[in-house]
């Protein structure tokens, strides 16, 4: 069923541009810091996947839940994790969203609805079901979006979670960000059939969408989110996208055919959206330039904040393991 009002309006597109610009520039800043040795982190760049997260977030309410993975910067920022807290966490500083204890692979910021970021492939989905179960019982109207990669669709937890979510009609959206590679393995070499078709086996709608197309991605997200919110159960979205920077920072991506990479970069979705906004008269060059400049300023401020924030006291190693520090540990 196609729902009314599922199309992205001009305001939505501007919002998606603002979010994806913040993501793109933050990613570039982080890689710059890593390159200059100012930051040590195991970093998984979402460069190229910005639109997926930004368009999805544009359909969500502030208190909706998001679960994501180590490649999560785009999802975190799109859902509204404050940049300062995020950046400080990357630096392992006390002002980080997890006091520096979790790190960039495990950003958690409940205030923004970012409930879990996992480093274990596939493990977000069963937990997302639990968040959605809580919403279903409490009737709080929240939707949970669980993000994962193409590679994660081959692990048992994906199948178990899809089945349970469908069976219980949980208000959850399974958002597979298919960037065509799982670590160094091309998706088609490790995945039987099409990911989106797996929805059928679990009696839920499956939507295949170009995740780099903001309007198509928004429409897909909107349908799935509305369906979940209306109590009709889960949807699987397979959003086709691409990652420009390899699996993790320092990966030379030698397993990606050069032409494939070149073509993807030629279709960089963020500048493309920028051009679209101007072309359609949704925003002027000055207006988008301001969005770009605002992002740059916010990032510069957040990096300084993170660098100046102190490290946590080593006593933090023994707190937060249990609700109260154990006497007999």
């Amino acid at each position: 069923m196609t729902r009314p009002n599922a199309a992205a309006g001009p305001e939505d597109l501007i919002k998606i541009y603002r979010t994806s610009t913040l993501i793109k520039q933050t990613d570039e800043a982080i890689r710059g810091l890593l390159r200059r040795g100012r930051l040590q982190a195991n970093y998984y760049s979402p460069r190229g996947q910005e639109i997926v997260a930004a368009a999805m977030a544009a359909t969500l309410q502030p208190d909706d839940y998001v679960v994501t993975i180590y490649r999560g910067l785009h999802d975190h920022l799109a859902k509204g994790v404050p940049l300062k807290a995020l950046m400080a966490e990357y630096f392992g500083k006390v002002d980080g969203s997890c006091k520096g204890k979790g790190g960039c692979m495990h950003i958690t910021h409940p205030e923004a609805g970012v409930m879990v970021t996992t480093g274990i492939v596939g493990s977000g989905m069963p937990i997302a079901n639990g968040l959605a179960l809580a919403s279903q019982e409490r009737k709080d109207g929240r939707v949970t979006v669980t993000n994962f990669g193409d590679g994660a669709t081959n692990i048992g937890s994906f199948h178990e979670s899809m089945n349970l979510a469908s069976l219980w009609k949980l208000p959850v959206v399974f958002l597979c960000q298919n960037n065509l590679f799982a670590e160094h393995t091309a998706t088609e070499l490790c995945t039987a059939g099409n990911i989106v078709d797996r929805a059928k086996g679990y009696a839920m709608p499956g939507i295949l969408v170009d995740g780099n197309d903001p309007e198509a991605m928004y429409a897909a997200a909107r349908q799935a989110v509305d369906r979940a919110r209306d109590g009709e159960g889960p949807t699987l979205i397979e959003a086709r996208t691409f990652r420009f920077e390899g699996h993790n920072y320092g990966d030379p991506s030698s397993y990606i055919p050069k032409e494939m990479m070149a073509e993807a970069k030629a279709n960089d979705p963020v500048p493309k959206l920028r051009a679209l906004l101007i072309e359609r008269g949704i925003a002027t060059e000055d207006e988008v330039a301001k969005i770009d400049a605002d992002a740059a300023a916010e990032i510069a401020e957040a990096v300084t904040f993170a660098q100046e924030s102190p490290y946590p006291d080593v006593a933090e190693n023994l707190s937060d393991v249990y609700a109260t520090v154990l006497e007999n540990a």
């Binding site: 204890k101 692979m105 692990i155 070499l189 946590p312 933090e316 190693n317 023994l318 393991v321």
Partner: protein, 326 residues
């Protein structure tokens, strides 16, 4: 004599085992050459050389471990790779309920001669889900053998011992030392269950395995200048561990410190300490001390992670505690 890295040691062991025995299979995530021959290059060249006997798998740890169990029951010698030890949690049913118990539950009619290679270790800022050492869990399961080498020569020789052993073996490579080079003599062998006395001494014995052995040797060298003579026993195999060598050493030194990278609580050090007390209570001059990482989650923040880890200072302090009693 060639100097090679630990990851090259693994590559050579696999290559030699595959050349020697056509039942040896290798599979895991990204292990074949088109996918880079393993994230550390430990399986480089093998798929080119051995074709379908070396396969990259989907990200499906349960299916990887299960395929290893099945192939082993059918008479192959699979070497499955679980990229990092934390991901073994996803495959625990296959390892604990199946690999470990199959021989016993079948009344000896079937066996599971598999090897699971995995990697872990703190100190690289990888945080709470990519750094844990879980060897104590696995050593706690009757039916499994567990090996944690500390250098290239042992990594090569012990991996071959695991592959040709008739029981399921968990082989743990420590991330941090995979690019450390060492000499590997051509005919070097290391049987399972045999410790190595890495340094002889007379005042106190350090019993450990894996990466912290390097720190134990450094501390032993430092304390030698003060006239404290430290013996370092590298267990190499955690289960079954070489009690004979350990008891002989501690009977001589009368003091012992256990050492591992894993957190101290309920760790392998507790088992070793307990056995030493049972066997040598009357000989000991001091209670056995345990050194390991702090009883908490591996933290991300660099200063927290350093504080979390075992250290040369902690080893030295433990040694001094054993020496306080005359």
């Amino acid at each position: 004599m060639a100097e090679i890295t630990c990851s090259q040691a693994t590559q050579q062991a696999l290559d030699e085992a595959m050349a020697a025995d056509p039942t040896v299979l290798v599979f895991g995530e990204d292990v074949a050459d088109p996918e880079g021959g393993g994230i550390m290059g430990s399986t480089a060249g093998l798929s080119t050389k051995y074709g379908s006997r070396v396969r990259s798998t989907p990200i499906s740890e349960q299916a990887i471990a299960g395929a290893a169990v099945g192939a082993a029951i059918a008479g192959m010698r699979p070497v499955a790779e679980i990229m990092l030890m934390n991901f073994i949690t996803v495959a625990m049913d296959m390892i604990v309920n199946h690999a470990a118990k199959t021989r016993f539950m079948s009344g000896g009619k079937t066996a599971v001669p598999l090897t699971i290679r995995t990697m872990s270790g703190a100190g690289i800022g990888a945080g709470g889900q990519h750094s844990d050492m879980y060897e104590a869990w696995l050593a706690h399961v009757p039916g499994l053998k567990v090996v944690v080498p500390s250098n290239a020569a042992d990594q090569k020789a012990l991996l071959k011992s695991c592959i040709f052993d008739d029981d399921p073996c968990i082989f743990v490579e420590t991330t941090y030392i995979q690019f450390v080079k060492g000499e590997v003599p051509d005919d070097y062998e290391a049987p399972l269950g045999k410790a190595k006395v890495s340094r002889e001494g007379t005042d106190v014995t350090i019993v450990g395995y894996g990466r912290p052995i390097l720190d134990a040797l450094a501390v032993a060298e430092k304390l030698a200048a003060e006239g404290i003579s430290v013996e370092v026993v590298d267990l190499r195999t955690v289960m079954p561990w070489d009690q004979e060598t350990v008891f002989k050493s501690v009977a001589k030194t009368k003091r012992a410190v256990t050492l591992h990278e894993a957190v101290v609580q309920f760790g392998v050090g507790a088992e070793i300490s307990s056995r030493i007390h049972e066997e040598l209570f009357d000989t000991l001059k001091a209670p056995v001390q345990r050194v390991g990482s702090m009883n908490t989650v591996v933290p991300y923040s660099a200063p927290l992670e350093q504080n979390f880890m075992w250290s040369q200072d902690k080893i030295e302090a433990a040694i001094r505690r054993t020496l306080e009693r005359k």
